[in-house]
Symmetry: C2
Subunit: 477 residues, 2 copies
């Protein structure tokens, strides 16, 4: 038969597991990333796939030769770019089981376990994060695992469009009058969702920041909603961000939700990166006001040890997504579905098929416990506080924004951006740390986003040494 | 640190791999699915996640107790429902490596290898399937791995909307005049894509079947396009299906593409299940006319040994998806992207983040070779031909449609649907085979979709015995 038999798999998979263990053990001694010439990886492949089967043991050699030198090492302790993408070894155990089972969980009946483990772990996490019973499956709402916060924002918008239309959206589509409210710091995935949903750029309304902040001004929001509504436009959704990508800013969720509700608009909270920190009591304020919102998203695959993809997405009304998204052809009709006693997650997402993603999240919860998760989060927040303190005390550097959890935005003290650009290039060229940029008020800024699995004080010290010995700082002083 | 260290992982992952090998080895002796009481899996979980870490070895016991008895066993040789979801052990090796590397491939620069392996393997498969150089990255088009054919259809539609609008769609959204053309056999994901894109049900035009077929009538399509265009409507996309979900019907791609092109509409081919069969010369006719279409989708995660998710999606114009979907905030700006020398796959999909899905596909191509894949496909097609022959010769059964590749649609010879419904229930109650229904011309029909990894002649014989000893057939005769 054209697959491995279980004994061949056992032997080979042990080898593959060993490869992973060795790769992770040796990761810190490699650069975070290499200089890769575009096309060089593709050039290592023949134009035509091989006709005959090849040894799977040899594939690991190919991976060593072709892939490893051209990877960007998100699991490296010196990776502080973008936001982290924790592919913990704990979660990979869950992935192994999920792959071995291999269900396709589009309907409850196509794998009751796949569906119900997802319900159970999202309920547990709703409680652990302090979202409240209203967001659990036992409380009339419920959680799901989406592939990304982008997709979560999209389905939130679709549910909001359906609700705002009084149920006509499914038949007649969008009217062009619908409006979605964000800020200049809101993640680009919201603009993408607005585009995908057919509203176009004109459907997006950018609410100003409150004075002296980078967070949504709820008074300005209220005024925009009022004006738009009076002009016959339809406020459909407001997105409040808890921990923006640029600077980690936290919008005032409560005030936003109140303003949105007064116009019947859906409030979605995008807490993709920061939301998981609400597991810690001292960061529970991140979910303040959540009892007033319609949906909440945070990514277990960023900073919560769970390999991509595992975006956690909760809604207060469990019927909202199926009402917007359900479609049942004859080949998907099912008595369990008809009974109303089960959740069919296909109606909570755009794709039909779905993997058993809850298994890796369960492995993380089981293997680390909430205590382990909190220790992970707190460790990185402490690193950021330490770095921010050093930046404040350094004559050549300055904070470009207040640090937020594990994110520090800094730049070289200078009148122009040249030295900061130079500093970023120099740090990244060392291969010992990898940072990424953003812009604040038109100025170029370096983001340091701690959060990789094995980043510790030693890596902060190494980063600090690299930063402070840079000629870019000297040149600016 | 709150993750396993590599040595702990090595030890535990060997155990997990052994669990998978044992599970697969014992799969055929279990039922395909069990009767599961809704809520019973959730009931095995505490309301609150544990505070303290627990032994990860013990998680396997929990999986045995809670998950295994409540799974629907898509990898079981008696699974002939829906379409297959081949989670081959070969592809799981690729998943192990992908998880160990753990990149997030949103941009080329965030893992050049993740992006370029995907380019290389989709180029190889474009050639192996006979799509032609135009669909390769070296030929001006290119392939990508989407999570599902649903998502592929959606992004095809978004690119089509952008193109049809002359580039205004990104700014002003849909106008309500756009129309998408399908048949009653087209997969529901197309209707879902039309809904998601904001066109509503009214945006969907159902083209009649050609007389005596269940395939799109290209003359009727041409007439509808003409009438719609003359009324100021905008034909945006036509979906031709190669292997419908209901009966495996194959739309006339060439004639459809010609009709669509004459109105500037995008032709998308949804060959989610059947397209992979074009690897075999004798089924190459499945891609006849593909040189005229704009996009083509087939799922490696159905019938091509690759664990979900791995939907292969090619476009003729590599700029079409980025033109529609690109959005670049400051924190994603990147010099490699700006150079134009690389593909950033985030612009080919709705989500921003992405896994290293190409790794498992590479493992399958490497470990099985095209020969192995063809043997896999041909084996199931032979089973379907054998079953269809037996049904034709049986006095109590009849084919409800011509068999298509590995799909057979049958029913009990009777004036009403009762006996066929009874037969399906009886077969599924045995636990030795699992079949799913569809409807043809309002009649209830049983689908037998061969394609599970280990299904062989012995499982066909077992199914045949179960079918033919059913009282439902006797009652009807």
């Amino acid at each position: 038969m054209p697959d491995l038999d279980p004994e061949e798999f056992r032997r080979l998979a042990h080898r593959y597991v060993d490869w992973v263990a060795d790769h992770r053990a040796g990761l810190a001694s490699r650069p975070v990333r290499d200089d890769v010439v575009p096309g060089s990886v593709r050039a290592a492949f023949a134009a035509e796939a091989a006709e005959e089967p090849q040894e799977l043991e040899a594939l690991l050699d190919r991976v060593d030769d072709v892939v490893v030198p051209a990877d960007t090492r998100w699991q490296h302790p010196g990776f502080h770019a973008f936001f982290p993408a924790n592919a913990s070894l704990t979660s990979l155990l869950g992935e192994i089981v999920a792959g071995g089972l291999g269900p396709q969980g589009m309907l409850w009946s196509t794998s009751p376990a796949c569906t119900e483990v997802e319900q159970a772990v999202t309920d547990q996490l709703a409680r652990a994060l302090g979202l409240g019973e209203a967001f659990t499956h036992t409380g009339g709402g419920g959680g799901s695992i989406q592939d990304s916060a982008s997709s979560a924002a999209l389905v939130a918008l679709l549910a909001a469009l359906h609700r705002a239309s009084g149920g006509t959206w499914r038949d007649t589509g969008v009217s062009g009058t619908e409006r979605v409210y964000v800020t200049a710091e809101t993640h680009s995935s919201l603009a993408k969702a607005v585009r995908v949903a057919g509203l176009g750029e004109r459907g997006l309304r950018v609410v100003p920041f409150a004075p002296g902040t980078r967070t949504m001004d709820p008074l300005a929001l209220a005024a925009m909603l009022e004006v738009d509504a009076s002009q016959g436009l339809v406020p459909v959704m407001v997105c409040a961000t808890v921990g923006t990508t640029g600077t980690g800013a936290v919008d005032p969720v409560r005030e936003i939700a109140v303003a949105a509700a007064s116009h019947g608009a859906w409030t979605h909270v995008d807490a993709a990166w920061a939301g998981v920190a609400a597991l810690c009591p001292e960061f529970r304020h991140l979910v303040d006001g959540v009892e007033l919102v319609d949906s909440f998203c945070t990514d277990a695959h960023k900073w919560l040890l769970t390999a991509f993809d595992a975006s956690l997405f909760w809604v207060r009304d469990a019927t909202a997504l199926p009402a917007a998204l359900s479609l049942t052809p004859a080949y998907l009709r099912d008595s369990a579905s008809d009974s109303g006693a089960v959740v069919d997650y296909r109606d909570w997402q755009v794709p039909l098929g779905r993997r058993f993603r809850a298994m890796k999240l369960w492995a993380v919860l089981h293997g680390q416990g909430l205590e382990g998760l909190r220790a992970h989060l707190r460790g990185h927040v402490a690193l950021a506080a330490e770095l921010a303190g050093r930046v404040r005390a350094h004559p050549g550097l300055e904070l470009a924004a207040e640090p937020s959890l594990s994110l520090v935005c800094l730049r070289v003290r200078a009148d122009d951006d040249g030295p900061t650009r130079q500093l970023l290039a120099e740090v990244n060229a060392t291969g010992r740390a990898f940072l990424s940029p953003t812009e604040i008020d038109g100025r170029f800024v370096i983001r340091v986003a701690f959060g990789a699995l094995t980043t510790s004080g030693q890596h902060l010290d190494e980063l600090w040494t690299i930063l402070t010995r840079s000629p870019a700082i000297g040149a600016a002083r």
